[in-house]
């Protein structure tokens, strides 16, 4: 019984952490139409910076500043935002292909640097020497993990509420306006490149927070955690859930994460011994197929974006008898 409970806590924690990342990607892709091919880099930046800022001092490498935990986590988000700002500054005023290629490039570069710059990142062995916050108060084991789950759920709720407010705000309308018709937005005196950069950096900060929570959960991060497959998983979650719909993104995360863990368990349990080496490949093919199949079958996702009717338009609609117009 305890075993099942611990597993459920583990599953829910991972799903919630990933859901935060999917929400960040949803702001970039779902609401603004920016293709981020390097989710793993921003996630990883958050993870590494959190551990470097919050970890204990180490003799053989820089870092381990032992900052208070929340400060370290925010630092992780800020690090990811900074990375996004650099990439965005170079590419967001150009044709959209460039952002896709540059973000893909940053993911490869990030993993490469994490693997090689051992004076900062611990190299291939990863980053150790991080003590989970409040371990003294909650002790180890299930009680601690349940407490951490509650914390992650709080962060998830905060991010969700923040994004819902953002999407409903004039700024959210502006994002969708730029996504749908950049020229029209420009003609109204808006600066698409700057606004896209704001949305891209904000999304990256959320991705970074998610990475920071992931690193906290394990108390450890290595280049194995920022492999390109992470980018594919988070994309599949968003596409299954429905890009543009925050609640759909969260549900998509739970569905895909459940399918991923279940398929991993089934393969390790039932696949013949000589095929065990290839279970990873089979799971990757499944993720790739999910992405392509969703494009054919239901490109808007299981929970499509709700077309918002702006409040003034709705009230005008009721007073003058119009049926209402969408603002997207």
């Amino acid at each position: 019984m305890i075993g099942v409970l611990s597993y459920l806590v583990f599953f829910a924690t991972m799903a919630s952490i990933l859901a935060i990342a999917v929400l960040g990607l949803n702001l970039q892709w779902g609401n603004t139409g920016l293709f981020n091919g390097g989710v793993a880099a921003f996630f990883g930046m958050g993870a590494y910076v959190t551990l470097i800022l919050g970890g204990l001092p180490q003799p053989d490498r820089l870092g381990g500043f032992a900052l208070p935990y929340l400060l370290a986590l925010l630092g992780g988000g800020a690090g990811a935002g900074l990375l996004a700002w650099v990439v965005g500054r170079c590419t967001l005023h150009l044709r959209h292909d460039y952002l896709a290629i540059a973000t893909f490039g940053i993911a490869i570069t990030f993993e490469n640097v994490a693997r090689n710059a051992s004076w900062l990142t611990g190299g291939a062995q990863g980053l150790r020497g991080f003590e989970k916050p409040l371990q003294d108060t909650f002790g180890a084991g299930l009680s601690y993990n349940a407490g951490f789950l509650a914390f992650v759920l709080c962060v998830l709720a905060l991010v969700y509420l923040f994004l819902e407010r953002l999407v409903a705000s004039p700024f959210g309308r502006l994002l969708r306006g730029i996504r749908e018709d950049e020229t029209a937005a420009r003609s109204l005196g808006k600066a698409p490149a700057r606004i896209r950069l704001t949305a891209f950096v904000t999304g990256a900060v959320i991705l970074g927070l998610s990475g920071g929570l992931f690193a906290t959960f394990y108390g450890f991060v290595s280049p194995q955690d920022v492999l390109p497959i992470l980018t594919f998983q988070i994309w599949a979650m968003l596409i299954v859930g429905g890009s543009g719909n925050n609640l759909g993104a969260i549900i998509g995360t739970v569905l895909v994460w459940a399918a991923w863990t279940l398929s991993g368990w089934a393969l390790s349990r039932f696949a013949p011994l000589d095929m065990q080496l290839y279970t990873g490949s089979i799971q990757y093919i499944l993720i790739g197929s999910v992405i392509v199949a969703m494009l054919f079958w239901r490109p808007q996702g299981l929970f499509p974006e709700r077309l918002l009717i702006s409040r003034p338009a709705r009230s005008r609609g009721t007073t003058s008898g119009q049926t209402g117009s969408t603002d997207t």
């Binding site: 091919g37 292909d97 896709a100 570069t109 490469n112 994309w235 089979i282 392509v292």
Partner: protein, 304 residues
């Protein structure tokens, strides 16, 4: 220094071949095709299969050509593989990209290609295994071009350069001397106007995939000849090929050739000052520098 320059030129030729197909597809269909580099893996493994097949059928042609580790069988297999990979590229377009295209959301193409790349890479891994293989297990000895400074070149590398240049030469003649080449350039310039003049858009798009796939296969075989063949080679080569495409300017075939050599040489020269572990990061730096200095590439034109 000279050795790095030489190595850069040799590997640059492979990037060029990959970038030509990518730049044509990106220009004509207007999306960043993340699955293009997987065609290099498809080509390399396809040639491996035909190479073993030909050697089995006709042991006579299993002899090496001169000082090369390349056999006649492999040369033949490479040509077959170029055709098969071109047809594969066409089939992928027909099965997946065309359907996504006809649904009309342009950005969907990018992540359709993202998913396709992941599927192709892992299917190859499932079929051929995850460990690296080689066309030939012989050790290729390098020729000493000069003693001081020491400059070494493998005969295979010279073959790679020559073969790549031949492929580019043929493409140049086709593009500049034939009606088909004019039609292709017309579509790239203005698709609707070209259609008004009786050019069949679908046929041209199919031809672009055929050519791009064929050249990618050549690049894959040549890379496999001088390095190793792994299911991950497409993944490793994707960023340098993208960098070559951007450096040359999206849509410019000659730019892609120049970009390939530029990326190869720059990455090899950079290794003189930076530890070689960082070499996968160089193409990304090149992309950033190009986008900051000359966003449309060396020979590209501005287009939104």
């Amino acid at each position: 220094m000279i050795q790095s320059l030489l190595d850069g030129i040799l590997v640059g030729a492979i990037y060029s071949l990959g970038a030509i197909g990518l730049t044509m597809v990106m220009h004509m269909l207007r999306f960043a095709n993340f699955s293009h580099a997987e065609l290099l893996s498809v080509g390399a493994y396809c040639a491996l299969v035909f190479d073993r097949l030909f050697e089995g059928l006709l042991p006579v042609i299993a002899n090496n050509i001169g000082p090369l580790s390349l056999t006649w069988a492999l040369l033949l297999a490479m040509l077959v593989s170029m055709g098969v990979t071109g047809l594969t590229a066409m089939a992928i377009d027909r099965l997946i990209f065309r359907r996504v295209r006809e649904r009309g959301v342009p950005q969907s193409m990018v992540f359709a290609s993202f998913g396709v790349a992941l599927v192709i890479r892992n299917v190859i891994g499932l079929i051929f295994g995850l460990s690296p293989t080689f066309y030939s297990n012989d050790i290729a000895f390098a020729m000493i071009l000069s003693q001081d400074p020491l400059i070494l070149v493998k005969p295979d590398q010279v073959f790679v350069l020559i073969a790549a240049l031949i492929c580019m030469g043929i493409l140049h003649l086709v593009l500049s001397r034939t009606t088909f080449g004019y039609a292709l350039r017309a579509v790239a310039e203005n698709p609707s106007l070209a259609q008004v003049n009786g050019i069949r858009l679908k046929a041209i798009i199919a031809a672009v995939w055929l050519i791009g796939g064929g050249l990618a296969a050549a690049a894959g075989v040549l890379y496999g000849l001088t390095n190793q063949i792994t299911p991950l080679m497409g993944n490793d080569l994707l960023l340098p090929v993208f960098a070559a495409t951007i450096a040359g300017g999206i849509g410019s075939v000659y730019g892609a050739v120049a970009g390939g050599f530029l990326v190869g040489i720059a990455a090899n020269l950079a290794m003189l000052v930076v530890p070689s572990g960082y070499s996968p990061s160089f193409p990304f730096l090149i992309i950033l520098v190009v986008l900051m200095v000359r966003p449309n590439g060396l020979l590209g034109e501005e287009r939104t």
